[in-house]
Symmetry: C2
Subunit: 230 residues, 2 copies
DNA sequence: TTATTTATGATAGTAATACTATTATTTAAA
DNA sequence: TTTAAATAATAGTATTACTATCATAAATAA
């Protein structure tokens, strides 16, 4: 059952093996764990998400899920890391022919701030749901007491790599700019926060009426290019 | 026991009554709930914080705590709201003689990005711990599935008021600036995020070596004034 | 002062969560 | 074909997040 591997064109995101007990990409059950986690976390939020509900949704048992992931925090970190890895790939792919660094940075800001469409190259992952999860649950991956241990285990490497990539583009725009890493992480986080605020706490933004992501992009472009082209 | 009320100079922060079942400011037990919540959440993080542990720390019972707060989420929102209210007061107080809007905004950025000292005017609240809690737990108050209901109940009013205050100062600096609310909320959030990253995921910032908050202030000033003085 | 309300303390209990462990069964690899 | 590995089925435990009850202490009102 299922198409043989050689007939698929699939994007493989390399994952940190210490995030899981058994590699979820290597089995049908594993792929279902990822697929249904994304759906359930998106639908009910991370707090209400449990391995029991996940198991029921998949049609397996709680113990079955525990064979793949130690706990739901690692599963969250896994899917979030996956997303950062995928985004890094998207950015590389979508900017590969862009030579002008300003255009490139604009393109990156657009990618970071835009709800993605589901990428058919990645079978069991719905990127548009993942993007929503990142907005509302993303920071919970690192806002924990174990952040330093998790960091030592390289759990945040894809996120750090992405920030680094963005930082490099910032320096290409202006090699004298002093805060490329801070600006990069701020762009990513502000893109998500303003999106969340726009939809849920609109008075914290200036985008209340239309709820259009383009406004966030314009705001970010203004913020970023004022700073680096000053 | 305790000093009579008329002998104290106390700052009272007006709290939204639907956050609690019984007003914690009106009793010794209530004040202890706030005081020890701040200590325990700071020490162990919000996820590991339970009403049972809190009750044990205070020397009361779980049921005793439940008579004040329905659940730990409301308690978190309570102490966070308290902090925003207190910060609003601080900003008003510390900028009341500053007429130049640029100086005022700089002062505000400094207040937002600096670890506060414990304010002796507020008996049972340790503001420096609260500031740390805000950095690592603050966004958990609104990053939930009930954010819209909570917002309808005005749980985030102190935060929104603060953003509004900052937004007004931004407009005083440049009345043509288009995104005063978004910039205000971004300043507050970026101040906290960069602080968290500096201490826990330093490669996401450019402040790795010294771990000095002043660098965050300089970064924010650069970011903000480039945008609004453009 | 006594009566009465109100807050607290002590204790119990429940459903759900976050796991661990055991055994049987199925599926896949050697 | 044997053997190993993955899964399903089931059970069990400690902790969490509550709700409920009743006795007692403290504050307040009659």
């Amino acid at each position: 059952m299922g198409t043989p591997a050689f007939m698929k064109l699939e994007v493989q995101i390399k994952m940190n093996a210490s995030l899981y007990l058994r590699d979820p990409e290597q089995s049908e059950l594993g792929k279902n764990i990822i697929k249904f986690s994304i759906e359930l976390i998106h639908k009910h939020g991370f707090e209400a998400f449990t391995f029991k509900k996940l198991a029921e949704a998949i049609g397996t048992t709680e113990a079955g899920v525990y064979r793949y992931f130690e706990n739901k925090h690692k599963l969250l970190v896994y899917i979030i890391s996956w997303y950062w890895g995928w985004l890094e790939f998207q950015i590389g792919y979508q900017t590969k022919n862009v030579t002008n660094p300003v255009s490139k940075l604009k393109k990156v800001i657009t990618i970071l701030a835009t709800t993605v469409e589901d990428d058919i190259m990645t079978g069991y992952v719905d990127e548009s749901l993942l993007h929503q999860i990142l907005i509302s649950e993303g920071s919970k991956a690192y806002l924990t007491k174990q952040v330093s241990q998790d960091n030592k285990q390289e759990y945040f490497k894809p996120y750090k790599d992405l920030c680094n990539t963005v930082g490099i583009i910032i320096l290409e725009c202006n090699s004298k700019y002093k805060y490329p890493h801070s600006l990069a992480s701020s762009i990513i986080e502000v893109a998500h926060l303003q999106n969340f605020f726009m939809h849920n706490l609109p008075s914290l933004t200036d985008f209340s009426k239309s709820k259009n992501e383009d406004q966030i992009i314009i705001f970010l472009n203004d913020l970023v290019f004022s700073s680096i082209e000053k």
